[in-house]
Symmetry: C2
Subunit: 202 residues, 2 copies
């Protein structure tokens, strides 16, 4: 398999973390690519008309995106248990994945506002509104630590861990650990997993 | 079940279309709500820390989001076949859903640029970049009409149909039918399904 890859894409990282959990890392070649909301990467667009990372090419040549589809595919390929079968546990895990991905979507939009949009065109209320979604999500997790508790790892927890990784990468002055100590404790613990210790060349 | 609902949310529409396909519409109460990227809707935030529509409350009180999770849940509840079981057909359907949702994500960001952001802060290249993703997606579908062909309806096709509905709602001058006639023919045909004929109070 091959995956279009950027070391700073949190959605790519999510797929690689899942691959590591499933012992599939050695079967996935990394195709370095950078994408940008305004400048087009033709190579990625040729495979994925949304021009987004991650995009996976399977050994059969099937093109899969986005990260949710890739992660579920990898889990099935490896016979993994990161996606529970249909039932309440699955809906809980998938909704937690939606929360992690939603935190990321919001943080990435705030990052684009900071780093891609020309300074005179920045809208503070937009950036604040996006980061507020991150804040309310962290608060919800901190108020309900049982959502993250338990030793079973699944796709929802991994998505949350990848969102927290991105906050530390791009919003290192957010200081979320002080406000959400239960999330901070969980993250410190789960981060010891080899999949989340993974370093990729920056 | 109850769903937080806005008649102009394409992701809510996707869930309601899926519910209609599964003959579940009568079991879902609509809770009118409007959300905005900057102005907070406290009632929705209390259930979903991302503050987004759709958000579904199941009969057991479980809170599910986003549209992908809700649609898969409804399909399972009804014993439907909109989500194929694991295998190539599932990955194809899910990647097509990602394409439809990605077209929507891009179109919604372009719409926010037009309608939510103060005029002096608009960035033409951002709007153009988002609509370009819509354009390349339409072209990919038009170049590979077999992706939409066949009589079997599944979640991917419904997601594409909902994306096209939103383009007509918010970008009625886009003129996509002239440029992508195979997609236009497919959409005219699939739109005859009762689920896609559904009108909701605007």
């Amino acid at each position: 398999m091959k995956i279009y890859f950027s070391p700073v894409s949190p959605y790519v990282r999510k797929c690689l973390v899942v691959a590591h959990e499933l012992d599939l890392s050695d079967r996935i070649a990394l195709l370095p690519a950078s994408v940008h909301p305004v400048e087009r990467n033709q190579e990625v667009f040729a495979k994925n008309p949304l021009g987004k990372l991650p995009t996976l090419i399977t050994d059969d040549g099937q093109v899969l995106y986005d990260s949710r589809v890739i992660c579920e595919y990898l889990n099935h390929l490896a016979g993994g248990s990161l996606f529970p079968p249909p039932g309440p546990l699955r809906w809980t895990a998938l909704a937690l994945q939606s929360l992690g991905d939603g935190m990321l979507d919001a943080a990435v939009l705030a990052r684009y506002e900071d780093a891609a949009r020309p300074a005179p065109l920045r809208w503070d209320a937009w950036r604040a509104g996006q980061l507020d979604k991150v804040e309310t999500s962290l608060k919800a997790l901190d108020d309900l630590p049982e959502r993250l508790a338990g030793v079973e790892i699944e796709i929802g927890k991994l998505a949350i861990a990848c969102a927290l990784w991105y906050l530390d990468l791009r919003f290192s002055d957010l200081g979320w650990r002080d406000r959400y100590p239960a999330v901070a404790r969980w993250y410190a613990d789960v981060s010891l997993r080899p999949s989340l210790q993974m370093k990729v060349p920056l």
